[in-house]
Amino acid sequence: MLEVRRALKDVLAGSIFIALGLAFVLGSLVYDIGSPLRMGPGYFPLALGIVLGGLGGAIIVKGFLAGEGDAIGAFEWRAVVLITIALLFFGFTVRGLGVALSLFGAVLLGALGRSRTTLLEAVGIALALTVLSIVVFIVLLQLRLPLTGPWLPF
């Protein structure tokens, strides 16, 4: 049991690499592979996908032989989920709502990702940062971004 715990970090890392390597290998098989002389679009990713899988395997083996053993630490679920939602929210709404509201929402969601920030604080931070960003990016740097969008009645 102790062995597994020591290797956990490496086993997880190795598994991710193997999974991603496999995904790229399977994805490449759809394309023309070709020969070394006339490589098709699938050749390079296929070869590297295999290499990545091999490296993932090596990381797992190394983990069991000489794992670093230190703890992975808590996974910040709240921050990961809220910051992801914040970015998705911005991406999906920026055309419809315009930069002002969309950014406000994204920053608010992001600020709430930290468990010790209160809702009131988050609203204040989001408001201040939205105003600041609009001044810096749209007024000063003149990026061509729409402030409001077609989803809004005004």
Partner: protein
Amino acid sequence: MEVLDNLSLGVETAFRLENMLWCFVGVALGTAVGVLPGIGPTATIALLLPITFNFEPVTGLIMLAGIYYGAQYGGSTTAILINLPGESSAAVTAIDGHEMARQGRAGPALAAAAIGSFVAGCVATLVIFLFAPPLAAVGLTFGSPELFSLVVVGLIASIALARGSTVKALAMIVLGILFGTIGQDPFTGTPRFTFGIRELFSGINFVSVAVGMFGIAEILRNLGDEQTRELVTKKVSNLWPSREDFRRMIPPILRGTVIGSGLGILPGAGHVLASFASYSVEKRISKRKGEFGHGAIEGVAGPESANNGAAQTSFIPLLTLGLPAHPVMALMYGALIIHGIPPGATVVDREPALFWGLIVSMWIGNLFLVLLNLPLIGVWVRMLSIPYKVLYPAIIGFACIGTFAIGLNAWDVFAIALFGILGYVLIKLGCEPAPFLLGFVLGPLLEDHLRRALIISRGDPTIFISTPVSAAFLGLAVVALVLTLLPAIRRKREEVFVEEDD
């Protein structure tokens, strides 16, 4: 006199009003992010890249470069005042610098750092000036086999000089290259791994990758363990070092400059390595070994000169061989490509104003930095009181606007989330994000030269060994890889990089 012509072209370009203005903005921003723990130059440059797309290429690069070396100055301020390096290369500065601050000598420590950085910056600029053109001339003779092997060396060496597990770093490079293949295949035009999404045909934007891996992933990690910061000195007085201080800091500054300018050229974390190397040299040759760790001014002056010198000479491989040695350089590489300038040996010849203007601007920038960091130190100290709960939502907001503004493409914003999570998980599992970014940026180049070389050789892979220069590069890559795997060297590397964690 070709040198004088180049110099005058550089001076003319760098002293244009808008270039000086953006150089100033760059170094000021660089100092700010160097001072603030929790946001580094890589994330900042990624966030600000989109803005520079509206500029002339030379202006944009001058500003981005300013952020990078400005951050080396700013990092030392945080290291000295709160014992928390704002930038990884300032970690050793904290050892003696913070001790000096606790003894009430923060002023001389900050002055030693700034003066050392300035001297090193000037000398390193001169080094680029003298050595870049001959190296570029060599680079011009390279064909596809040589360039392929050169990229391999660059990627491998970046692991050798970085921290952490070699196998994991290798896997990160390969993963980065694989993500770099997403988009249209350059030879046949077939869209690869795009799932029919039109927005992905041109590939994943490297800004999204960098912002996700270095910005968002870093935020997630910081939210996991928020450190409380304690300022030793709110007010810094007595900036000017005494005559005795001056006498003690001049030799370390000169030695640090040489060490830094030399190591900076190597791919990998040259500037981090340089400051550690300089510190151990100073400690070894000092007559006052006992003072090290207890506020020796040599321990501040040497490493600070070294890291700034290295930050500047690390432009040499990028501008002469098209080889980014560091994540920041990888972003510069991307910036050049967006401006339609292929990075590499041709830059010196085809874009002389950009090349020489950038170099001269570094000297101007260093002058700005001394002015910004010594008389205005109080402003930066006050910035340290910005709480993280305000700072990180600002990074998220800037990330949204900045990446969306590149091409008004929502997929660029979604990609940040993807790479943020991927980066966070992998960092937690002990994989460094830097090799991933280098792989991602250099991947297309690697594939391109591999396929070209094999067409030249009619499919015979021995071309990489039968071409002497290419064989030498590959040999170098093998040596670098073997060295990192040797237990003795590995221990030494852990020793060198261990303090980065604190």
